[in-house]
């Protein structure tokens, strides 16, 4: 074996090692995304076909009342799920960071919901929130006959029950991320601030929270994509009901593609979802990568 071959091999080896994985992910991620894109411009009904119809599927998508409900729900759900999740997670992390006893146990308790799948969370909350079985029934049993909590069966409020279940599930995870961030802050800065006479809330507001910026961003990214693709939680908790009051883009896409025989329309809604995710992820990645190069 000539030395030239060995050196060439060692130069090519990393590329060869990565090639199969790259080819597979290219075919089964980007290839299928492209196929979905093509289908969204086709007249596909029950089975995929390639009769070109231009933007017709997108037009009927945005004319559909149900899609508008799904988009509004996505807006409400994302804003509250991310906002409340972040606030609650940060609050729990700050409390846990006060060098308390049994921190390990509490941390596990808070983090535990994350170990459950959304299907389990959804089913459990469905029972808890059902007026005839759960909370309302319980409180009435205690003697508060006029107590009412029927959000689950109220079309105007049902979306907020999904927020409750979602926040319950993810707040512990957000807490864990923030706790790690808090632990990474240099103690000496905090001591210096204390010597300067800063109060505890002021220290948190002006020093700790600003230095958690990177944690905020990664948490935001994780929660944002969970909320856009949220499907199993909705299916288990309300199945999109009452009516289609709690429909989300993902459940809309599933219903159109797989039970209504409108693959083209489903593909169009999936493309819109992809664009929504991309609109959040691409600027973020861009700023991160630019920051790294600097």
């Amino acid at each position: 074996m000539s030395p030239g071959f060995a050196s060439r091999l060692s130069r090519w080896m990393p590329k060869l090692a990565v090639a199969p994985g790259f080819a597979l992910s290219f075919a089964f991620i980007y290839g299928l995304i492209a196929w979905n894109g093509v289908l969204s411009f086709s007249a596909s009904r029950l089975l995929p076909n390639y009769e070109w119809v231009g933007l017709a599927q997108y037009v009927s998508l945005f004319e559909s009342e149900r899609w508008h409900v799904a988009l509004v729900n996505l807006g409400i759900f994302s804003a509250l799920f991310i906002g409340v999740g972040l606030a609650l997670g940060l609050f729990l992390a700050i409390l846990l960071d006060q060098k308390i006893r049994a921190e390990g146990v509490l941390r596990t308790v808070y983090l535990y919901p994350m170990a459950l799948s959304f299907i389990v969370t959804g089913t459990a909350w469905k029972w808890i929130l059902n007026p005839g079985l759960g909370l309302e029934h319980l409180v009435r049993g205690w003697g508060f006959e006029s107590f009412t909590f029927d959000w689950l069966v109220n079309p105007d409020m049902a979306i907020y029950t999904i927020v409750i279940a979602g926040v319950w599930q993810s707040a512990g995870f957000v807490m864990a991320l923030f706790l790690a961030g808090l632990r990474g802050i240099d103690d000496s800065i905090l001591k210096a601030a204390q010597i300067d006479g800063a109060t505890l809330p002021r220290i948190y507001w002006r020093i700790v929270i600003p230095s958690l910026r990177p944690v905020f961003f990664s948490t935001l990214l994780v929660l944002a994509h969970i909320s856009i693709k949220s499907f199993d939680l909705v299916m288990a908790l309300t199945a999109g009901g009452p009516g289609f009051a709690t429909d989300m883009p993902a459940t809309f896409m599933y219903a159109m593609s797989f039970s209504r025989g409108q693959i083209g329309l489903g593909a169009a809604s999936a493309t819109i979802m992809l664009c929504t995710v991309a609109a959040i992820v691409v600027p973020y990645l861009y700023s991160e990568l630019r920051g790294a190069r600097r």
């Binding site: 009342e65 005839g132 079985l133 079309p155 009452p242 219903a255 209504r260 025989g261």
Partner: protein, 421 residues
Amino acid sequence: MTPTRLTTRALHVAAAATLLCASLSARAGEVEVLHYWTSGGEAKAASALKATLQGKGHSWKDFAVAGGGGDSAMTVLKSRVVSGNAPAAAQIKGPSIQEWGNEGVLANLDDVAKANNWDALLPKVVSDVMKHKGHYVAVPVNVHRVNWLWANPEVLKKANAKMPTNWDEFFVTAEALKKAGVIPVAHGGQNWQDFTTFESVALGVGGADFYRKALVQLDAGSLKGATMQKVLTTFRKVKGYTDKNAPGRDWNLATAMVIRGEAGMQLMGDWAKGEFIAAGKAPGKDFLCAAAPGTANAFTFNIDSFAMFKIKNTANLQAQKDMAAAIMSPEFQETFNLNKGSIPARLNMDMAKFDDCAKLSSKDFVATAKSNTLVPSIAHGMAVSSAAEGAIKDVVSQFWNTDSMTPEQAMDRLVAAAKTK
């Protein structure tokens, strides 16, 4: 028994089985059947078909996909068909048969149909559903009547109320039940159950001709008019007699409320009978069945059927044809429907073994086929394409759940939904 002897016996059995298979495979084919009959009574019904085919020497390859509505089964079927590996038969019904026919993947069963005289055995409305462009592509296994009203006689007696025969009487009975402290109407707030109730109201208030014009032909004038307005107001009024825990409840849990006497009545298809029977109740004594208010002379049908797919292997082709013929045989139709709670799809069947509800259903089926008041159920995928059905179902369910929506708004949306292609 020692281990060695056990092994020897197992070997003998295996050898015998191999011999048996070898001797059969010379002429026999295999049918692979995709279905979603996975609950108790349904699985029993499916095994009746399996036994019939095995009697003819064919082997049966079961391809059951769980999930009552069949959504997951259809997803599996699509992937099989797209990959060029379709099963011999699949449980597909209503206009979906036409949609699959349009994709050009269904087999022609005209020779079997001719040999067994299907045209004379099936009402025309039914055979039309089984045909694509005039050729038989599917076989019906049963007929479910959807426009039923179920009631608990003890509860009715306690409330001093009687079984209603039209919608005015229905509300009198409901009011009496409410006064007696029971839930008048057991309902499950899932969109297809809202739609099932709507369908019965539409048939009862408007009659078969209105139903056909509005919900089968999707005529805009009928979807937006005085009759539809009356249908919607009546439909809304029914909701007032349901309990508020209904959203998301399964239909069989609603039936259980009637069985236990917590609720008085339920509007549901005849699969609800299976729940009463399974709870050890006798028709006429422990529970009452009657046509939904105002629909005694009409019949909304929901027919389960098997569509046959194009396959290449000639032995399997014979098996497929034998299966189609076997499904239409009186023996199979009887055994299957006794287990499933429905009635046979063929006319002129001996109904002696069936219960009173099924006998009434069968009598009305034959009578309405003659008087042209036999209409397809829109809520169960028999009347219009799945896309239009879904869009209309959305409007109906939204109207049911949104108290602020007026009938006029609902009618405008119905007209828009009917245009979905």
